[in-house]
């Protein structure tokens, strides 16, 4: 960094701050169940954006938006179920209070490694996330620890950082009060009141690919994505994006 001007140096500090703030906003947008706004607010306007979950890629703007729309639609369906299951309690709430009432999904971000490209046009970052969420199931409301990774490529658009690629990988997922090391976890009993409850099911990725496997006893040792290293300019082959596209 010896060759950078003072303005460039402080710009790089601001970039780090802005990228951390961006991922904090992603976390709070999930918490506030505003996934319908996710793509427009935080993702690049490019058509080739890409989101990865453990079982594959959502390639392209429509697919990424489709993923988040499915999350948002699930919250709406969840709300309708709760209104039918608990009509008296839900009737006391405003429509805004009803939306997702009783559910929570939070993905705090920590352990960040961030590298701004030498040319300042892109950045790469990785975060660890000790998340927790709950959902309704035929076994009633269940809460989970959901621990994993957010690994992102960012691009600067009109002076603002936007997400170009994101790998959101789940490393550990376990119901609260249980161990992820149980080889034969006892199933939860079904609860009649929740017989029609449907937990969230993600739409199928348009490029299915086993990218990561959540922990199970006997899982072969699995490395997390590598943290980024300093780089000069964006190279898709060294990115967190899909390969061979």
């Amino acid at each position: 960094m010896a060759n950078l001007t003072s303005e460039q140096l402080i710009g790089r500090w601001e970039d780090q701050r802005d990228l951390k703030n961006l991922m904090g906003k992603v976390c709070y947008t999930i918490l506030l169940k505003q996934e319908d706004q996710m793509v427009e607010r935080f993702w690049s306007r490019r058509e080739d954006i890409a989101l990865a979950r453990n079982d594959g890629w959502y390639l392209g703007r429509d697919a990424v938006r489709g993923y988040y729309d499915a999350v948002y639609a699930h919250t709406a369906a969840y709300t309708e179920f709760m209104k039918q299951a608990f009509p008296e309690k839900m009737a006391k709430l405003s429509p805004e209070e009803q939306f997702g009432a009783g559910s929570m999904d939070v993905r705090p971000m920590d352990t960040s490694v961030i590298e701004i490209a030498g040319d300042g046009e892109t950045a790469r970052g990785i975060w660890y996330s000790r998340g927790t969420y709950n959902d309704i199931t035929p076994q009633g409301p269940l809460s989970f620890w959901s621990v994993g990774i957010f690994a992102c490529d960012f691009v600067r658009e009109d002076g603002e950082w936007k997400i170009l690629n994101m790998q959101n990988l789940t490393d550990i997922e376990v119901p609260g009060g249980r161990s992820w090391g149980d080889k034969d976890p006892e199933p939860f009993p079904e609860i009649p009141l929740f017989a029609g409850a449907e937990p969230f099911t993600a739409p199928a990725p348009n490029r299915p690919e086993r990218l990561f496997t959540a922990y199970y006893p006997g899982r072969p040792f699995q490395k997390l994505p590598e943290p980024p290293v300093p780089y000069e300019t964006f190279d898709p082959t060294e990115s967190y994006g899909p390969k061979g596209v």
């Binding site: 352990t111 490694v113 149980d182 006893p217 006997g218 072969p220 040792f221 943290p227």
Partner: protein
């Protein structure tokens, strides 16, 4: 009045100090990923001090003592660890699991991550060293021969001295101490795990430290206050550092005191 209230820096110096903090936070987060990915040797090669002067005085403190010098740290952190990993994998294979005992299968059924949060970080007034403290929630997953895994939620603190070597920040003295750990799915009020007296699966993994002593006693409301919150400082001195010599209680005396205290 402290130096930082009176010392005058140029704008350039202030910017470097601000970016130094970001570099050190990146460094310690990078360490977390290398460790989780089984890249312990890479961590020592890339992230720790490299010049002879600092290699000899590098140290790694755990609740039960200090490993001193990079050779000793490597023996504790890499060699012994891999030897125990191999033995654990052999026991799993002997119990009937369909896994070959090969270097690429080390860590089969295991997982860990120790997050870096809550950084408190000071660059020395002279800009040559730095000192930081993080809180470190995490998880350790240890495969068992019976086909299950022992899974722990862990709560550690992590403190370090850093030195700028050839323009890059490096780990010099590292202290990683457990406050508590508990098996997943159990109530930590009822836990019997203890980093001082055992059973402690992490303590048992490694050999005797070069300086065996109670580095951190997590009992009694963490009353030993070690590692303490860092304070602003002008230049590195042993006193107040994260080296074994910088520990506020003399090693031998404190060790004896704690041994006697623990027997009561």
């Amino acid at each position: 009045m402290n130096y930082y209230e009176t010392r005058q820096y140029t704008d350039e110096e202030l910017l470097v100090r601000i970016l130094d903090k970001e570099e050190i936070k990146n460094l310690m987060a990078r360490r977390a990923f290398y460790r989780a990915n089984g890249q312990r040797q890479r961590e020592l090669d890339e992230l720790w001090v490299a010049t002879e002067e600092y290699r000899k005085s590098a140290s790694y403190g755990r609740n039960w003592g200090y490993y001193v010098g990079l050779d000793s740290i490597r023996n504790y952190y890499v060699t012994e660890f891999e030897r125990k990993q191999t033995a654990a994998l052999q026991a799993i294979a002997d119990a009937g699991a369909d896994v070959a005992v090969t270097p690429e299968n080390l860590g089969w059924g295991c997982s860990s991550f120790h997050e870096t949060t809550t950084p408190m970080l000071y660059i020395a007034g002279d800009g040559k060293t730095a000192r930081g403290l993080w809180y470190v929630p995490g998880q350790e997953t240890i495969m068992q021969p019976d086909g299950s895994a022992k899974c722990y939620w862990t709560m550690d603190n992590m403190s370090a001295d850093f030195v700028k070597e050839n323009g890059a920040w490096k780990i010099w003295h590292l202290v990683v101490c457990s406050d508590f750990f508990v098996e997943a799915g159990t109530d930590f009020q009822e836990g019997t795990l203890d980093p001082l007296t055992g059973p402690d699966p992490f303590r048992e993994e490694f050999g005797t430290p070069d300086i065996p002593m109670v580095v951190h006693n997590p009992r009694y409301n963490l009353g030993d206050n070690y590692p303490a919150m860092p304070l602003p400082y002008e230049t590195y001195t042993v006193q107040g550092s994260l080296s074994p010599e910088g520990h506020p209680r003399p090693a031998e005396g404190y060790y004896k005191y704690m041994k006697e205290g623990l027997k009561k």
